[in-house]
Amino acid sequence: MARRLAPRSSVTILGILVSLAACTGPSTGGAGTQPPVVTLHPTPVVTPVMTPVVVPARTPTSDVPGVPTLDVPPGASLAAEGGDPVPGQLGSYTWADGGSGSPWLPGAAVTVATGEPLTITFAADLPVEGWTASRVTAGVGDGIGAVAIGAGQGPIAFAAPGSGSWSVQVNVRFADDLGSATYYWQLSVR
């Protein structure tokens, strides 16, 4: 059974909405006033500054047709609109008949703009049951003072936090009891 890669739909929806917004322009300003000022969103800058750690997914075998069983969770990549996907660091996970425990990791480095829509995609085509995204100030260990920046089911998409350097954790629970996994990126937000 073929499964659609969940995050693609969110990318599409975001793309449509962003395009519509770009076409309609801002709502402020009218007859007799200054022409509307269109504030262009800066070109997304996605700059990997360190070698991302990608845990390879091994041989898929499964009793469930179409759902590969991996020894480890699939690699996850974060991307901004128009930017190259940046693989994240894999933290704690439970997968198949095992799992691994990690600390709050620094994350793979990415540079984005404030409020920029970010999406997560996976190396394997697996359904997502639910996810949360949180951030802490980069360099603050142990996830102290974490703040939610997104949560949902299915496609993973959230907005970049305010300017600063953030360690972002995305916790994903995959559907069909496949397991859960935590991924990290270090966002440099301008």
């Binding site: 504030t39 969103h41 439970t94 997104g150 998409a157």
Partner: protein
Amino acid sequence: MTRATNRELPRRSTRLILTGSTATLLIALIGGAVSAHGPDPTTSGGSFGQNQELGFRWRSGSEPSRPIKSAIKSAAADVATTRASRAATFTYDAGGDNLIGYGAGATCGVNGLACYTRSAPNGFSMWLREQGHVFDWGTLKWCQTYASPPRGCYDAETIALDEFGHVEGLDHHRNFADGSDYDEAVVQTFSRTKPSAGWNMHTFGVCDVATLQRQYDMATWTARYSTCLDLSTVFTLSASPATVLIGGSTTLSATLRVTDLDSYVRLGGNPISGRTVTLKRRTPGTSTWTTVGPMLTGSSAGTYVMTQELSSDQEYRATFNSTSKEGLRSSDSPVVRVSVIACHAIGPVNGTDAVCI
């Protein structure tokens, strides 16, 4: 039980960004947020047997150092003393089938402090990384290997307890975003170091216990349900006889149980013993209930009894008031009416009720 999640939304600097962010938020809201602060999720693969004893030994050639061995054994003891359920237990046994290793052979992925495999109900394995292992993010320090544990060390007993929790079938707890409920589970998505809150938990947290109770059942019917649960309860109440002569007596019998729902897994339908169940009464046609008093423990699990002498018709109900000490909801029994009759003599009907003759 009130549940809430903390959520901060980023500020948007331009209309275009606002639109994109709103879309993101809409997607999240339409999808529905992942609930937090409930019992730990479960992993796939099923559970071990109730109270199954799992013996473990050190993996040949990968034995832990003495302080780590001690920490792992302590964690196994922590399981036994804090599982508050019929979950499996772990005991060191030189002939045990289950291997625990330590060191460079650990198959914990690139960033793992520790890891496990499980094959319920047959067995499990566990690994802890060695002291001084160099990760991309730093060098591993086990607190137990120091006379004075430094800041930034990991407590091996806590980490091993986390792994034992996974072996039981617990997946990572879903915290509030700010981690304020970190101490409600040992089985966490990320481990903490000394001196951050929760770095040295040596007991299962309430949300670990909640899932252990659901999957393995209560140790006794008087045991407390985890406060991380929110279980509805249900009463039955009967009076025998339901009709008495003036001045005669009847015995009210109540049975208190956990509501039998599939989502409660093993807990559904459990009798609830050892709680305070209060009997109340009112005159038929009135609305004010008067407390009669606490009912006595009955002869079977979950039952409570009280005998009443009556001079007029009465309605009764039993009440269970929940406390903050456990995860059960309050409930009231259905109302039972006891009729009083005045006559010279009575005769039994069906062995229970009475009629004038």
